[in-house]
């Protein structure tokens, strides 16, 4: 028996938390996107040629969206679970008839939904700069959401592991930001020297950006089915790790 109302309450609480920090959580990412467009799209874009019918401005949109999805999902769920630990009110959840399913899904799905909303806002912002038809809308939605959810789960692992704020934001800043920037948001992989192409192939974010690009334009450098499967497998692995944390009480129970 799942405590559905409990799950829903956590979800609602997390979404309502977003409302109170609306500038920071929603407006800021949208503004950043607009800046990327102005700087990269207008200034740099004219120097870079893209293949086929896709303009450079269009080309960077899926990457910008994926970057926002994974970063925001990760930070939202990491801080979502870390704050109650920090404030000591995690006991409210532990003393309630809830466990792994309610708490994990409540936090991570709320974080993924929040990130997806930001993704949609970025898409809408981009429409001011360039027309953007989507070739496979359903694929974009599923792939985007699953990516956000996976990173929300990674964020939850961080939030349970972190002992202070410094460590909480360690991975987003020193691992995630470089990986997204080097994941081909702003350039095509075949523009790189061969060695860097090989290194890029080891970056999971590259496949995620490329997968989303497939959804938008119907073309990509890699196989989108591989990307979708890889994301799903990663999601299952992260959920298994969190489940294990709940079993041993890691970061939760004394």
């Amino acid at each position: 028996m799942i405590n559905w109302i409990g799950l829903w309450t956590i979800f609602r609480k997390e979404i309502e938390r977003t409302r109170t920090v609306i500038v920071q959580s929603i407006i800021a990412p949208t503004l950043t996107t607009a800046l990327y467009f102005i700087v990269f799209g207008a200034a740099v874009g004219n120097q870079i040629t893209t293949t086929g019918d896709v303009s450079y401005k269009q080309f960077i949109v899926p990457g910008l969206i994926m970057m926002a999805l994974v970063t925001n999902a990760m930070i939202a769920s990491a801080s979502g679970i870390y704050f109650p630990r920090f404030l000591g009110i995690i006991t409210d959840l532990l003393a309630a008839p809830m466990d792994f399913v309610e708490i994990t899904f409540g936090y991570t799905i709320a974080a993924a939904v929040r990130a997806t909303i930001i993704g949609v806002l970025i898409y809408l912002t981009a429409l001011f700069f360039t027309p953007l038809p989507i070739a496979h809308p359903l694929f974009v939605l599923i792939f985007g959401f699953l990516s956000a959810w996976t990173f929300a789960c990674l964020g939850m692992i961080m939030g349970l592991w972190a002992k202070d704020f410094e460590r909480l934001f360690l991975i987003p800043s020193i691992v995630l930001t470089p990986l997204t920037f080097l994941g081909g948001v702003f350039y095509k992989i075949d523009m790189l020297p061969p060695l860097w192409q090989k290194i890029t192939m080891l970056n999971p974010i590259f496949y995620m950006i490329d997968g989303l690009r497939y959804g938008f334009f119907g073309i990509s450098s890699t196989n989108h089915c591989v990307a979708l499967s890889a994301i799903t497998v990663t999601l299952i692995i992260t959920l298994t790790i969190i489940k294990h944390f709940f079993t041993i009480g890691y970061g939760l129970r004394k």
């Binding site: 559905w4 409990g6 309450t9 009110i89 409210d92 003393a95 809830m98 466990d99 129970r253």
Partner: protein, 310 residues
Amino acid sequence: MSIINIQNVTKTFPEGTKALDNVSLSINDGEVFALLGPNGAGKTTLIGVIAGVVQKTDGTITVLGKDTVKDYRQTRGTIGLVPQEIQVDIFLSIKKTLEYQRGFFGKRKNEKLIEKTLKALSLWDKKDAPVGSLSGGMKRRVLIAKALMNEPKILFLDEPTAGVDVELRKGMWDYVKELKKNGTTIILTTHYLEEAEMMADRIGVINKGKIILVEEKKTLMKKLGDKTLEITLDTPIQKIPEKLTQYNLSLTKDGEKITYRYKPGQTGITKLLANIKECGISLKDVETRETSLEEIFLSLIDNNNETKTI
């Protein structure tokens, strides 16, 4: 009938502290049970393992016949927990805090219950105020309101009056009595022994993770309850005269009162008073009273530390 059954429960924290050492205890349905013990005795830990906040190392606990690990959803659903530490989400309003709390327990919104509880705890005026803006005593009452949101059959109060004004304490206890009248079983820990004395049906004493005594309050008072004779002097004296050393007397610091502890039924008061008079000390007032729980409790812990068994 017992509502909570604790059997051979042990809790060892990862770094090696044995906070609970083979604890067995049974709580009766509808009673007020006071758990007493010095700081670090294991009171909070014991409450924590029953409520599901702390993982026990060994032993079994049942609540209403259900295992707290296997059937945790049922057991936790019947428990309300007022934690010792005042920890709250400072940005939320009181009302939101209570709404979420009820939701966590899988129960639908109930405005009436929130209103009733907040009014009873004199918090209704503040219902929309962020919890962070409240005084310590108010926050404590928010914690109590929170613990009542799932309409628990069992309520744990872990030092609920710490940091609460004396005037407000009485109101809180009146409310607790009300809850008891409605059938709620209450387990409380407190440092104010007069509160345990006033509230409890039974008293358990825990020290160093071991339950050293469980007794009906009345029996406990009778069994260990020496009487104390308190003699107020007309003029303060420096020390107790030689002649009176045969009696077990003590003098208060200001030299104004002599106290004499004796077993009920023990005679000799008349003789003592006569002896005092012979020493040329004149009396202002003489009063006898039951030895307080605090005095009993302190002597119990002392014994326990010396002999390690009781």
